[in-house]
Amino acid sequence: MMRLFAPLIAEERQAGQFIILQTDDDYGERIPLTIADADTAEGSITIIFQVVGKTTKHLSSFNTGDKLPALVGPLGKPTHIKNFGRAVCVCGGIGVAPMHPIVQALKNAGNHVSIIIGARTKELIILEKEMAAIADELIICTDDGSYGRKGLVTAALKDLCERELKPDIVFAIGPPVMMKFCSETTRPYHVFTQVSLNTIMVDGTGMCGGCRVNVDNKVKFVCVDGPEFDGHLVDFDNMISRLNAYKDIERKHYKCFVEKTFNQPVKEEQI
C-alpha cells in the first residue's frame, strides 16, 4: 500500500478510476493501477499493488518523500453509481483495493451491500476491517479454508443468487479468471454483472489500442470505454490470452532488474 501526494487526482477521482505511473520517465514503462482511496484534505491517493514485475518491484523500493517521476490520472470512466437496491461486490486477491471506493459510493447511494472477499489463504486478505465497517454483509472465502468459508468466491456468489431477494447488481474485480467465472455464475440468474478490466496499456488515453477487448463482439478500449464492462458480454478467453503477450520479455526484465539492483539471484519459478 502506498499513499501518493497528488492533490488534483485526489480531488477529481471517482470510484472505478485508475492512474498510470512510471518509476523512471526516460526508460520506465507505464503501468495502470487502480485508485483504492483518496484523501482530499491531505491531497493524497492510495494505491495498493502486488509485486509482479520490474516496475512494481521498483515501486516497492520507493521511500516516504521520494518523488515518482510520472503519475497521471484519474483515467477511465467512473463507475456508474445509483441506488440499485441490493448490490453484491465480489473481490479476488488484490481486487479488494479497487472495490473499496465502489463500495463506499454504493453505500452512500443507499444500496444494501454484500461483500465477498476471496484469497488463497488468510494472510493474503487485505482491507477486511475497512470493508467490514461499510458492508451490510461480509463473506470471506479462502481456497485452503484457513479463514472464513473454504472454497471459491463463485460458490458464495451462487448462494447469494439463490436467495429469495436475489442481487440487483454484481460487481466483480479480481484476476481475469475469477471475473470470468463470476460472470458465468450470475448469467443463469440474469443478474447484471459489472467487471473491471486491467489489460496491457501504454498511454491510457485511447491512443494505442493495446488495451482493446472484445465486448459483445465489438472492439472496446479499456482505457477510454472502460475499465468497467458488462461481464456477460466480455470475451475473457481472448483477454486472458492478450495479457500474456509480453510475458517472456517481462520475465527477463524482472530477473535482470532484481539481480542487478537487489543483488538477489532469481530462479525461474519465482517469477
Partner: protein, 509 residues
C-alpha cells in the same frame, strides 16, 4: 540505385557554385533551368536500415546555394499559395542563393515556428513544390526547387550555429491561455499567444512533449533533439509546461476557465484513436495498431536495452496500410531486425497516401510492397498468436468520392502470407477524451470537434485545431490551424491581432 556521399555531392555543388555563383543575380531563366537539381544526401540504405540515425542528411551550404539558384524568383509567387502557413518562399530562397543564411531563416520564421520540423516532414510535393514554376516548366514535379530541403537547411544552420533567436514577448497582459496538447498545433498556439504577452500553459498527457512529433514520427525521420530544441525555445519565452496532465480527467476543461482563471483554451489533442479493420483475428497476440507499435518504440524507447517497455522482436512483419504511418512502422520494423517486412496495400503505388520520398526510402531499405491486396483475415496458432494473413487480390475500379480509384476485391483470389506480427496502419479516429468529459462541446458524427472559421468551438472562449478538428491530416495543416486559433485568441484577449498574420482557411486542404 547509385548512392553518392554527402562529400561528393558537396564537391559537385562547389564546382557549380564556381560557375553560377558570381553571376547569380543576372542568370536567365533558361540558365537556371539547366542547373542540376541538388540531390538530398542520405545515409547508405543498407547501413541506415540497421540504425536509428536520420536518413536524410541535409544539404551542405554549397548544395543549398546551388539549389537556391534554380529558383526563378517568379513575379507571381505560386509556391506561396501552396504553403499552409504562407512562408515567403522566393524571398528566403533568394537570400540563400547569396549565402545570406541568417537573413533567410529570419524570413522563414516570420510565418513558421518549426521550420526544422516542417522542412523534414511536410509533404512539399503536394504543397509548395507542386506549384513551383520551375517544376512545371520542366514538366516534372520532381524537378521543382527543393523548397523543403532548403527550409530544413536554414533551420538546421540556425540551430547548429546557436543562432536561434528567442522571439520577443510583449509586456504581460495578465491574461491566461491554456493549450491542451503539445503537438504541432499546440506548440504554435503557445508561441503565438505568448508573444502577445499572455501567460500560456501547455497541458500534455504524456510525460514528454511534442505529441505526434514525439510518439509517432520516428527518430530516423525527425530526431528528438530537434523537438527538444523547439520546446526549449518555448520555455525560454516563458511558456509554462505541465506534463502528465490529462485535461478532461485531471481537470475538467471548463474548470480551467471557471476555477483556474484561464481566459481562453485551445484544444489540440490530435487524432489519437487507432482504427481497426474489423476483420477476424484482429485481437490475436502480435496484432498491433501502428500507434501502439510506434509509441512503444519512439516514446517509450523499447528498442533500447535499458527500456522497460517491451516490443515484439518480429521476424516476419506485415504492415496493413499505405500512408506515412505505415511507412514509418515498416521501416522501423526493419531497424529492429525483422527479416522480412511487407506493406500490404489495396490500391497501387499511385494512390498511396504516403509521401513519395518515404515510399522510395522504404523500398531502398528492402521493404517489400504487396499492392492490390488486402487482408481478409488474420490467422492464429493454438496459443493465440499470429501465424499469417489470408489476403485477397484487388483491382482498381471507378474513381470514388475522394477522386482516388476505388479498390475492388477479386473473388476467390485468396492467398496466404506468413507473419508473426501484423501492424494495422489504416488511420485514426478522433480521441474521445475531451468530448466525453465536456458534454457541451459540439462534435461531428465522426467525433471531430466542430469549429467556425475563427477556430472557435461551440463553447465560449474555447478554440480547437489540428487533427481533432480535421481528422488525421498533416503536421503543417495542424500548424496552420494553430496559427489561426492563436490569432482568434489574441483578438479575443486584446482586441484585433497586430502581429500574427493568419492565413486564410483552406488554402490547400
Amino acid at each position: 540505385m547509385s548512392h553518392k556521399s554527402s562529400k561528393a555531392l558537396q564537391e559537385e555543388a562547389q564546382c557549380l557554385l564556381n560557375i553560377y555563383g558570381p553571376q547569380s543575380s543576372s542568370l536567365k531563366v533558361k540558365e537556371r533551368q539547366k542547373i542540376p537539381a541538388q540531390v538530398m544526401p542520405v545515409q547508405d540504405p543498407e547501413l541506415r536500415s540497421h540504425n536509428m540515425e536520420e536518413v536524410s542528411l541535409g544539404y551542405s551550404l554549397e548544395q543549398a546555394r546551388v539549389e537556391a539558384l534554380r529558383c526563378l524568383q517568379c513575379a507571381k509567387k505560386n509556391c506561396i499559395e501552396g504553403c499552409p502557413v504562407q512562408i515567403d518562399i522566393p524571398r528566403f530562397i533568394g537570400h540563400i542563393s547569396k549565402g545570406e543564411i541568417e537573413e533567410a531563416i529570419a524570413v522563414v520564421k516570420e510565418t513558421t515556428l518549426l521550420p526544422a520540423v516542417c522542412g523534414r516532414v511536410c509533404p512539399q510535393e503536394r504543397q509548395c513544390q507542386l506549384y513551383c514554376t520551375l517544376g512545371k516548366s520542366l514538366k516534372d514535379i520532381g524537378s521543382s526547387v527543393a523548397i523543403g530541403g532548403l527550409e530544413r537547411f536554414v533551420a538546421d544552420w540556425e540551430r547548429i550555429n546557436n543562432k536561434i533567436v528567442i522571439p520577443s514577448v510583449k509586456p504581460a497582459t495578465g491574461k491566461k491561455v491554456a493549450v491542451v496538447g503539445s503537438g504541432p498545433a499546440g506548440l504554435v498556439v503557445a508561441a503565438d499567444c505568448r508573444r502577445e504577452g499572455h501567460h500560456v500553459t501547455i497541458f500534455e498527457a504524456f510525460h514528454k512533449l511534442g505529441g505526434v512529433l514525439r510518439y509517432g514520427i520516428p527518430e530516423f525521420r525527425l530526431p528528438n533533439d530537434i523537438i527538444d530544441k523547439e520546446i526549449e525555445t518555448l520555455s525560454a519565452m516563458g511558456v509554462e509546461i505541465k506534463t502528465n496532465f490529462v485535461v478532461g480527467r485531471t481537470r475538467k476543461l471548463t474548470d480551467l476557465i471557471d476555477k483556474d482563471g484561464y481566459d481562453a483554451v485551445f484544444i489540440g489533442t490530435g487524432a489519437g484513436l487507432p482504427i481497426f479493420m474489423g476483420i477476424e483475428g484482429e485481437s490475436l497476440n502480435g496484432v498491433l495498431s501502428a500507434n501502439e507499435y510506434l509509441t512503444r518504440i519512439n516514446l517509450m524507447k523499447a528498442y533500447l536495452k535499458d527500456a522497460d517497455t517491451p516490443v515484439y522482436l518480429s521476424k516476419k512483419l506485415v504492415v496493413l496500410g499505405g500512408g506515412n504511418v505505415a511507412m514509418d512502422a515498416a521501416r522501423m520494423a526493419k531497424r529492429l531486425g525483422a527479416e522480412s517486412v511487407t506493406v500490404v496495400y489495396r490500391r497501387t503505388e499511385n494512390e498511396m497516401p504516403a509521401r513519395r520520398e518515404e515510399v522510395i526510402h522504404a523500398k531502398e531499405e528492402g521493404i517489400r510492397f504487396l499492392l492490390l491486396s488486402n487482408a481478409n483475415r488474420i490467422l492464429g496458432d493454438e496459443k493465440g498468436a499470429v501465424k499469417g494473413i489470408e489476403c485477397l487480390q484487388y483491382e482498381l475500379g471507378e474513381a470514388d468520392a475522394s477522386g482516388r480509384r476505388s479498390a475492388v476485391e477479386i473473388a476467390n483470389s485468396e492467398f496466404i502470407l506468413e507473419a508473426d506480427t501484423v501492424i494495422i496502419a489504416v488511420g485514426n479516429g478522433s480521441n474521445p477524451l475531451i468530448s466525453q468529459t465536456t458534454p457541451l462541446l459540439t462534435v461531428s458524427k465522426r467525433g471531430n470537434i466542430v469549429v467556425d472559421e475563427t477556430q472557435q468551438t461551440s463553447m465560449d472562449k474555447i478554440f480547437a485545431g489540428g487533427d481533432i478538428v480535421l481528422g488525421a491530416a498533416t503536421v503543417i495543416l495542424a500548424m496552420g490551424e494553430g496559427r489561426r486559433s492563436a490569432a482568434s485568441i489574441n483578438k479575443l484577449l486584446c482586441g484585433p491581432a497586430v502581429e500574427t498574420s493568419a492565413p486564410s482557411k483552406g488554402a490547400l486542404s
